[in-house]
Symmetry: C2
Subunit: 249 residues, 2 copies
DNA sequence: CGGCAAATTGACTCCACTCAAAGGAGGTGG
DNA sequence: CCACCTCCTTTGAGTGGAGTCAATTTGCCG
C-alpha cells in the first residue's frame, strides 16, 4: 500500500494556502484551466475562491476514497493518478491528471470521494470548494458551461476506454492521449516522460504489466517509438494513430 | 444498419409536441427525473421548457451521431440504446436508457451528438433545449446540482464498466444494474424483460453474443437465474451479487 | 407454411494472462 | 565507496478464457 503517513487532507491545505499568491489571470495554464472563457472581471472574482496548496511530494495523497466531498482540485504542476482498490485488494487506476485538469468531479453524486488521488511527482494543486464553484457558476454562464464540458468530456473519454480494444490499440491510444495533452500544454508531442510506472499504465489500461512491456518493445522494434525507461519518443505519430485506429471524435 | 427512413429529428418533435400535456408535477416518474428536488413553484417554471414528443416505435432514432447538439431528452416510457459505429463499421453499444434517465449529456463538450440513440421498444421522451435548461439552472440551484449529479453518476458507472471483469462478472453486473433500476421504478427486482437483443447486451459488455448465451445458460444451470428469451427471473439475488463481487459504491 | 433473423451449442483458435526467472536502477547503511 | 537490498522492468514458456467459425434450433411475421 501507499505511505499513509504522507496523507494530507484538504483542511490542512486551506491553512497552508497563501491566498495572496493566487492569480489565475497570470497563471501560465491560462486557457487550459477552469476559468477558461471568463472575462477579466470574472476571473478576478473567481480568484477569490481559489486556494493554492503547498507542493506535494510523490506518494502524497490529495484525496482518499471515502473522504467527504467538499472540494475539487485543479492540477497546477506535476502529475497525479486516481485509483480505487477493488474487492480483492487490487489497485485499479482510473486516470492520470496533468496540469489544468480538474480532479474530483466524479465524487459529486455520492458526496464522497470514490477514488483516491496520489501525486506521482512533486506536484501542486489549486483547490476550490465545490459549493463556492457551483454558486459562482450561477452568475457566470461560461463557468457553468465549462464544468459541464469537463464532465461531458470525461464521459466521452471513458466511453472510449471502455471499448473493446487490443493491447496494442490501448497502448497506442494511451500514448497519443499523452502526446496530445502535453502538446496542448506547450511541450513536445513527440517526446515526453512517463511519470507513472509500467504497473500503473497496465492497471489503467486493464492489461498486465508484462503486456505493457511487450507491446512497448514491439512498437519500438517496428520503429514507431523509442522507449528508454520513462522517456518516450514517438518517431511516427501517424503510424501510431493507425495502430490506435481511433474513431473520429 | 438501422432503418434510416425511421429517422426523426428534434425539430419535428417540437412541432408535434403538445405542450399542454406536459405536467412534471403529475408525472408518474416523479423523483426519478430531472426536476427532482425542485419545489412546486420551480417545477411549474420547469414545465414551460419541456416538450413532450409523440411516441417512437422500436427502431426509430432519437439522435444520430453527428447531429448538432441542441437538446437533451428524458425517457418517459420504453427503452433506448445509445451506440457509436467504430472504424470497422461495428456497432458499439454505450448504454441503455430507462424512464427518467437523461440522454445526450455526453454531447456537450463537442457540441455534436457523438452517439446515436434508438428506441428498442415503443417509447416516448420529453425533450429540453439544453440552452434553456442551463439558463434555468442558474436560478435553480437544485436543478444545477441534479445535472452535475447525473453526469457524475455516469462517470462513476463508466469507471466501473471499464474495469477488468470476467464475462460472468459483466453479465451479473448488468443484470443487477437492471434489477436495481427496475425496482426504483416500481417494478419487480426479481423479474423483468430484456428489451435489448443478446447482440446488444454483448456489444455493451464487450463480449461476443455467443458468450452472453453461454453465461446466461451457465447461470441458469447453477440455479441463480431463470431465462426464457427476453424474460429474466433472478432466483438468488445475493448469489448474483457474489458473482458480480461488486465493489462498495 | 416458408423465409429470415435471433439465439444456442459445439469445436477449435488465439491473445493476453500467469508463472517464473533474470536483469537493471536506485536507495540505504556499513 | 561499495555491498546489499528491493522494487521495477523485461523476457521466456505455458495456460486458459473468451473469441471465431460453423451448424443447428427457435421464434417471429408475412
Amino acid at each position: 500500500m501507499e505511505c499513509s503517513a504522507a496523507n494530507i487532507n484538504i483542511r490542512e491545505f486551506r491553512r497552508d494556502a497563501s491566498r495572496s499568491q493566487v492569480a489565475c489571470s497570470r497563471c501560465s495554464l491560462g486557457e487550459l484551466c477552469l476559468p477558461r472563457g471568463l472575462d477579466p472581471d470574472e476571473v478576478q472574482r473567481f480568484e477569490k475562491i481559489v486556494n493554492r496548496s503547498r507542493p506535494l511530494r510523490a506518494g502524497e495523497h490529495l484525496f482518499r476514497a471515502g473522504d467527504e466531498f467538499r472540494s475539487v482540485a485543479s492540477v497546477r504542476t506535476g502529475c497525479f493518478k486516481s485509483y480505487v482498490v477493488d474487492a480483492e485488494g487490487q489497485e485499479q487506476v482510473l486516470g492520470f491528471h496533468l496540469p489544468g485538469e480538474i480532479i474530483g468531479l466524479d465524487a459529486i453524486h455520492s458526496c464522497r470521494h470514490t477514488a483516491s488521488v496520489v501525486a506521482l511527482d512533486t506536484s501542486a494543486v489549486c483547490t476550490l470548494s465545490f459549493e463556492s464553484v457551483t454558486q459562482m457558476a450561477r452568475s457566470m454562464p461560461e463557468l457553468q458551461a465549462e464544468l459541464f464540458r469537463i464532465m461531458s468530456a470525461r464521459i466521452s473519454e471513458l466511453e472510449t476506454i471502455a471499448g473493446d480494444l487490443s493491447a496494442d490499440e490501448r497502448i497506442a491510444m494511451f500514448l497519443l492521449s499523452l502526446s496530445d495533452r502535453f502538446s496542448r500544454r506547450g511541450y513536445s508531442e513527440h517526446e515526453f516522460i512517463l511519470a507513472m510506472s509500467r504497473r500503473d499504465i497496465a492497471s489503467f489500461l486493464r492489461l498486465a504489466t508484462e503486456t505493457v512491456s511487450r507491446v512497448l518493445a514491439r512498437l519500438q522494434k517496428s520503429g514507431l517509438l523509442k522507449v528508454d525507461r520513462k522517456q518516450v519518443r514517438i518517431r511516427d505519430l501517424d503510424a501510431l494513430r493507425e495502430v490506435a485506429r481511433q474513431q473520429a471524435a
